[in-house]
Every structure is written in C-alpha cells, then in structure tokens.
C-alpha cells in the first residue's frame, strides 16, 4: 500500500473513532431535545392542600349538575372535559348501596352534594367529592376524597393518595392512610392506624385530654429578641430530673433528659435522645438519630428525628396558636398524643396502643 495512503487511512480511522462517541452529543446539541431548564416548581410551595384545591377547581364544572341532582333526587352520569367519566348522586338509597357493594371497584369520579354514607368493602379507584357529610363503611378503599364537611373512615379502610376535610377528619381503628391527609379543623386517628403526612390545626391520636400540657410556660422562639446562650457539649449528656436550663443545648453524643426537666430554649442531640416523662422544651427538639419522647411531655417547636421517633401518651407538640411540625422517617405514636400542625412520617407512621 502507498505509505501516504496508509497514513491517511490511519488518520481517518483514528479520527472516526474519536468522533464516534461525539455523534449522539452532536445530534443532541443540534436537536436540543432535552435542553429545557430542570423543572423547578415555582408556585407550588409543597402545600398539603395542593391536590384537593386542584380537585375542587376540577369539580367546579359539575356543581350545577350536583345541585340539580339534589333537587330532583336523581343520579346523573357523564364525562368531564378531560374524558373522565363521572357519576353524580342526588340521593344515597338502598339500590345504590347494593350497586356499590356488588361492584368490585367503582371506576368513576364521584360527586355529591348530599351526605354520603357508603357500604362496607366498597372500593373506589377515582377521586370522590363530597359536598355533605362523608361517612365511609368498614374496609373501604379510596383513592382520594375531598369533603366540604366532615369525613369519617370506617375501620380498616384505606386511602391511597389524599383526603381533605373542611370539617373534621376521623378514622376508625386499623385504617391505612398512605398519602396526604388534611383538615381545616381536626384530625383524629384511632389505634392501629398508619399514616404518612397529616396536617390540621389539631391532630389527636385516640382520645386526648381537652388541654394537654397546659401548664407550659410562655413560648420561646427565634422570633424573640436576643438569643439565649448556646451550650455545646462533646459526648453524652444528661439533664437531671426537675432541672431548668435557660438556653439552647447542643449535645455531640447521646442525650437523656430526665423527668420533669424544663429547657427554656432548643435542644439538639447528634445521637439518640431519650426524653423522660413530663419534660418541657420551649424551642425545637431535634435528634440526628432516634428519639423517644416519654409521656406527658410538651414541646413547643419542631420535633425532628432523622431515623425514628416514638411519642408516648399525653404528650403535646405545638399549640393551637403556634402550630409546629413533627417529622421522622418512622414514627410510632401512642394514643393520647396531640400535635398541632403537621405530623409527617416520611416512610411509615403508626398509632400504637398506650403501653
């Protein structure tokens, strides 16, 4: 072979091999098929009511039909603008209950301005709008519910996505609440319910005293002028029973706060934290590992555990005037606990019987 040709072939071959991995890159550069900025949600601030608000707007078009059905006491069916089929109930009577019971699953968006009382073991694969009271039967299975008044779930029912009740939301024993549950007034869960994200001015687990932890002193928060001193300790630390500490305490080890102690500030433990009975914390309470909060404690600020959190009976987090967030990947919460604001178990939350 001609040596010049050989060199040319060699150069071309090497050049081709070099360019080969660039071909998809050049194609993408030219086509710009994935060149939009990464989607950053600008307007949705993570509102728990985002889905229910959207669904209310979505159902607005059905309002005249729902009112018409209530007046006439009839049932109407049809399709929404996006093609979803719906059923509007103007009355809930025996034939309807029988129909729901006989179906394996109802695959219609359901809307009603009358009170809905559902039969046991009914399953709904689409969202439900309830203009009146909503009372589920036992072992119901729902995708999502928007209730303009109270919403009650029967024992062992399950919600897959979300529920919002303008009134109270209550769930009997053994319910599984997989998505977002919110209420504008009260959420009450009974024993053995599991949950993920709850938000209401007041969340009660089982039966709660009318005013749990009422003896707590005035709130301290970041809002107050002048910071309390920060006490930083390397290693394990114990706050003695009945001790009062004014200031924030940051523990680079395990923390044990004995019964009746009061921290006029916030608390952070880098390892496990054990909070004994009757402890009051006026600021936030954070553990970078596991945390166990004993009975009849009162925490004003956010309660965060990065691994697991257990809260015993009679404890209270936040107040009606100063709601807060309680969050951990895994939460076990006993009956008799009250949380004002948000209770968020990222992986799994469980109501357990008082020990």
């Amino acid at each position: 072979m001609n040596p010049y040709l050989a060199v040319a072939v060699l150069v071309c071959t090497v050049g081709l091999m070099f360019v080969l991995p660039l071909i998809p890159a050049l194609v993408e550069l030219r086509r710009k098929s994935d060149a939009l900025p990464l989607s950053v949600v600008q307007q949705n601030a993570g509102e728990i009511r985002y889905f229910s608000d959207s669904f209310r707007a979505y159902m607005n078009g059905l309002e005249p039909i729902m009112q018409g059905c209530v007046v006439a006491g009839t049932t109407a069916t049809g399709a929404l603008p996006d093609g979803e089929e719906y059923v509007v109930l103007g009355r809930v009577d025996e034939p309807l209950v029988l129909a729901l019971q006989q179906r394996d699953t109802t695959h219609l968006v359901m809307g009603s301005d009358v009170d809905l009382i559902l039969p046991a073991e009914a399953r709904f694969s689409k969202d439900i709008y309830a203009g009146g009271q909503f009372i589920g039967g036992i072992k119901n299975n729902f995708r999502a519910i928007l209730g303009e008044k109270n919403v009650h779930l029967g024992a062992s029912s399950r919600v897959l996505r979300w529920v919002h009740a303008v009134g109270e939301f209550t769930a009997d024993a053994g319910c599984g609440l997989d998505g977002r549950i919110s209420s504008d007034s009260l959420i009450r869960l009974q024993n053995d319910c599991n949950f993920r994200r709850l938000n209401a001015p007041r969340i009660e687990i089982g039966s709660v005293a009318a005013n749990p932890g009422a003896s707590l002193p005035q709130l301290h928060s970041l809002a107050n002028s002048g910071r309390p001193p920060r006490f930083l300790h390397d290693g394990d630390f114990e706050v003695q029973a009945g001790q009062v500490i004014v200031g924030d305490i940051l523990i680079r080890g395990k923390l044990h706060i004995h019964s009746g102690a009061r921290i006029c500030g916030s608390v952070k433990s880098v390892e496990d934290a054990v909070i004994a009975a009757g402890v009051a914390v006026e600021g936030s309470l954070i553990s970078a590992q596991k945390m166990r909060i004993g009975p009849h404690c009162a925490i004003h600020g956010p309660v965060i555990a990065e691994r697991e959190l257990a809260i015993a009976r009679g404890s209270r987090c936040g107040t009606l005037e100063h709601p807060t967030t309680v969050s951990a990947p895994k939460i076990e919460i006993e009956e008799g606990v009250a949380v004002f604001g948000t209770l968020w178990a990222r992986d799994y939350g469980q109501v357990v019987a008082t020990q």
């Binding site: 949600v41 970041l222 390397d234 952070k268 956010p302 965060i304 967030t325």
Partner: protein, 436 residues
C-alpha cells in the same frame, strides 16, 4: 510500588540528574496518589447518592412559628435582572410581616437604583433599600456594610440573577430551627441551560455539583459548601465568627470554613431549588472560574492546615473532607504538573511504573478512574430524571480542558500577586438577560 528506573543509563542515581529524576518520580507518585484520592471521593459520593441513605431532615418542616427573616439581595449593576428577583420575593409564601427584603445596591452605575426604588414605592414596608455609594469593592464588603440594617436572627442571601420559587424562603429558613446549623445552602439550577453548548455543559456541571456532590456531603455528614446565594446564615453565628470577610474573593467558601471551625454546621437542602443565570460566553465563564479558584485557594491557604490538624470542633471526617474540598481548585495545576512530570520522566528514558500490578493499576485507572467525574454527572442527570442531555457528556472534556488551564492560570496569577503584593481584584459576572 517503588520506583525502579530502567537501567538505560549508567547508574543514574549517583549523578545529579539522576537525583532530579528520582525526585521527579516521587513527586509524580504523590500526584498520582492525590488524583486517586479525588477519584475515590467522586465514586464515594456518587455511589452514596445512588444507593445510600439520603438526609433531608428539615424539608418536612412546613408548619412552624416562622421566625423573622431578612433577605439580602446583592446587586452591582444588575438592571437586567433585579426586577425579576424582587417580583419573585414579593410573591413567596412567607408571613409578610416577618420578611424584610434588603436589596444591597453596591455602587451601581446603571438603572439598578431606580428599579429598586420603584419597588420600594410599590411595596411599602416590605423592601428596605441599601444604596452603597462608596467603600471597598466586592460582595463580601457590600454585605458587611449592609449588616448594620439587619436585626433578625435568620438572614438569607441571593444574588440578583436568581428567581426564588414560592416555597423557597420557608425551606431555607427551616434548618435554622436546628441550633447546630449556622449556614444553609439551596440548590442552584441554570434557567438558560439550553442557550448554547457552554450553558448546556454548565447545566450538567451544576447538576453533578449539587445533586451528587453537595447532597452526598450532606448525607455523609461532611462539609456541604455554603454557596453565598440561595443560602442563609444565622446572625449570632456570623457575629461569633467575626462577620463577613471583605478580603475574601469567595465569601461563601470563607464563611463555610469559619463556621465549621467554630462548631457550626452548614447544611444543604437539595430540594430547595432556585433558578440562576449561567454565563453564556466562554470569556465570562473563564473570569468566573478564575475568581472562584482564587478565592478557594485563598481559603485553602488561610484555613487548610488549621482545619486538618488544629484544635477546633470539626469531626475527623469533616477535617478530611473539608481539606479535600479546599484542595479542589489546587488540583488543576497539580494535574498539569503531573502531566509535565510524566512526559519529562518518559523522555528521560524512564518508565516509572513496572510489572503486572502496575499495568493492571494503570488499566484499571484508565477504565474507571478517568470516568469518575463523568459517572458523577451522569448519575446526577439520572437522579434529575433527565435523559437526553447525558448524550452531551463527551463534550465535558472541553469544559474540563478550559477549566484546568483557567484554574491553573488563576493559581499562577495568585502566586505572582502574592510575590508582587498586588491586591485581589473582584470581577463581577456579566448578565445576559434582556433589560425589562
């Protein structure tokens, strides 16, 4: 592995040039070791993001007794962008009576002042302008002067080209309920990603840097870096460490390390995303990265040794990671030096690596090590749910080439400035948005 130069010369170890050669080889080994260390770090971070436990401890705080907050918007000749951020800040979901915006207008000579004043009129009581007409240049100096107007415990900082979303302020404030937290950093997302090749490469780089690097550091309790924008700082912590360092070219890096040395943590919130504008032309990008490199190296000289071996409150893993992070921009000239040394010893007729193990190591590094940074960025793109943009990965070699020479040049200039006593010069990053 020990250096075993080939016997192509007569006992080179006994001659002066032989000793030089030996020294070169040892330096080369050290450089190879350091490069391997950084390669391992890339893999460690990437694998952690793909398979490890992800820490987002504060992102769930959506209900709280929200504290008062001051939002500082650093602006120097920002007429193209300042209106966008002020508009966005006026619509965020945060109690209106608890948020004060202070645009820090640093000696602007364009229409920045007029635009700010118009917003002040439009939103009385919610924006308190700070018009700075003199003083030292640079963002840190401007922020330092603006601090006399700040009374809240929580301070958030944005550059003027950022556009915060509705929930961002709450997300950035939430970590301050943790009394260990002195600084907070959110995620930066380029909004002009699709403009040209440069912006697309920067989009990928940002993705790798935040989605993988920063979040992995957060997961592993290392040293997430304060970025100086889409960020927050606690007033009491800032006072404790002596306030903003106006002599620093990168006040964010400086802040990260001073907080760390004083027992405060900087946390990263990967889901607190905010749009920014990235440079659209290479000269601006080169200027930007040179400033970052100089500032970072400045911090390395100031804090590196003390962080690694000094007496302070950082943990062992923070000491190691913090030191490696400080050395990131020093790696460019070190790599160049390594290339030079490798070529030098090769043309001296010496092959410093011998044997099967050396061959296997070289092959393994070529197969895996060289891909570490690319693997990281590809993983970030996957985590972001973007697919086609991964096709652009081979072009990153271009960005890498430009960076390595720019950063090395910055280091050389910095050393020259040190010798001659020249002062650092702060270069503002040019904006590309159209004036409203």
């Amino acid at each position: 592995m020990r250096a075993r130069p080939q016997q192509v010369r007569s006992d080179p170890e006994k001659t002066a040039s032989g000793q030089w050669l030996r020294a070169m080889i040892y330096v080369l080994y050290i450089i190879v070791f350091v490069i391997c260390l950084y390669t391992g770090r890339h893999y460690c971070f990437t694998l952690n993001r793909l398979f490890g436990f992800q820490r987002h401890p504060y992102i769930d705080i959506d209900t709280a007794d929200w504290p008062p907050v001051t939002v500082l918007v650093a602006a120097h000749n920002e007429e193209k962008v300042i209106a966008n951020i002020l508009e966005a800040l006026m619509t965020v979901k945060y109690p209106v009576d608890k948020m004060l915006v202070i645009p820090v207008n640093d000696r602007s000579t364009d229409l920045t002042r007029e635009i700010i004043d118009k917003f002040v009129e439009q939103f009385p009581g919610r924006i308190q302008p700070f018009h700075r007409v003199g003083g030292k240049g640079g963002k840190a100096a401007a922020l330092k002067d603006a601090m006399e107007n700040v009374t809240t415990e929580v301070i958030l900082i944005f550059d003027a080209d950022y556009i915060p979303g509705a929930g961002l302020i709450k997300q950035l404030v939430a970590p301050f309920f943790d009394i260990e937290v002195g600084g907070v950093m959110g995620r930066v997302v380029p909004m002009n990603a699709g403009t040209n090749l440069l912006t697309r490469l920067l989009d990928l780089e940002r993705s790798g840097g935040y989605q993988v690097d920063q979040q992995a550091r957060m997961n592993l309790r290392l040293v997430p870096q304060h970025g100086g924008t889409v960020a927050g700082v606690r007033l009491s912590a800032l006072r404790e460490i002596g306030g903003w360092n106006e002599n620093s070219l990168t006040e964010d890096t400086d802040l990260t390390y001073r907080l760390l040395l004083n027992g405060w943590k900087t946390v990263y919130q990967n889901r607190s995303e905010c749009y920014e504008e990235v440079p659209e032309v290479w000269p601006v990008r080169i200027k930007q990265i040179m400033r970052w490199a100089k500032g970072h190296n400045q911090a390395m000289v100031t804090y590196g040794l003390h962080l690694l071996v000094g007496k302070h409150r950082a943990t062992l893993r923070e000491r190691i990671d913090g030191t490696l992070l400080l050395g990131v921009y020093a790696m460019a000239p070190i790599t160049l030096l390594g290339w030079g040394l490798a070529l030098g010893v090769f043309y001296q007729g010496v092959a410093p690596l011998h044997g099967v193990i050396a061959l296997l190591s070289l092959t393994a590094y070529a197969a895996i090590g060289n891909l570490a940074a690319f693997f990281e960025i590809a993983a970030a793109a996957r985590l972001d749910g973007t697919r086609k943009r991964i096709c652009l990965l081979p072009f990153l070699i271009l960005g890498f080439g430009v960076s390595i020479f720019s950063v090395s040049r910055a280091a050389a200039v910095q050393m020259s400035d040190f010798v001659t006593g020249a002062e650092f010069h702060w270069d503002k990053t040019e904006r590309f948005r159209k004036v409203l």
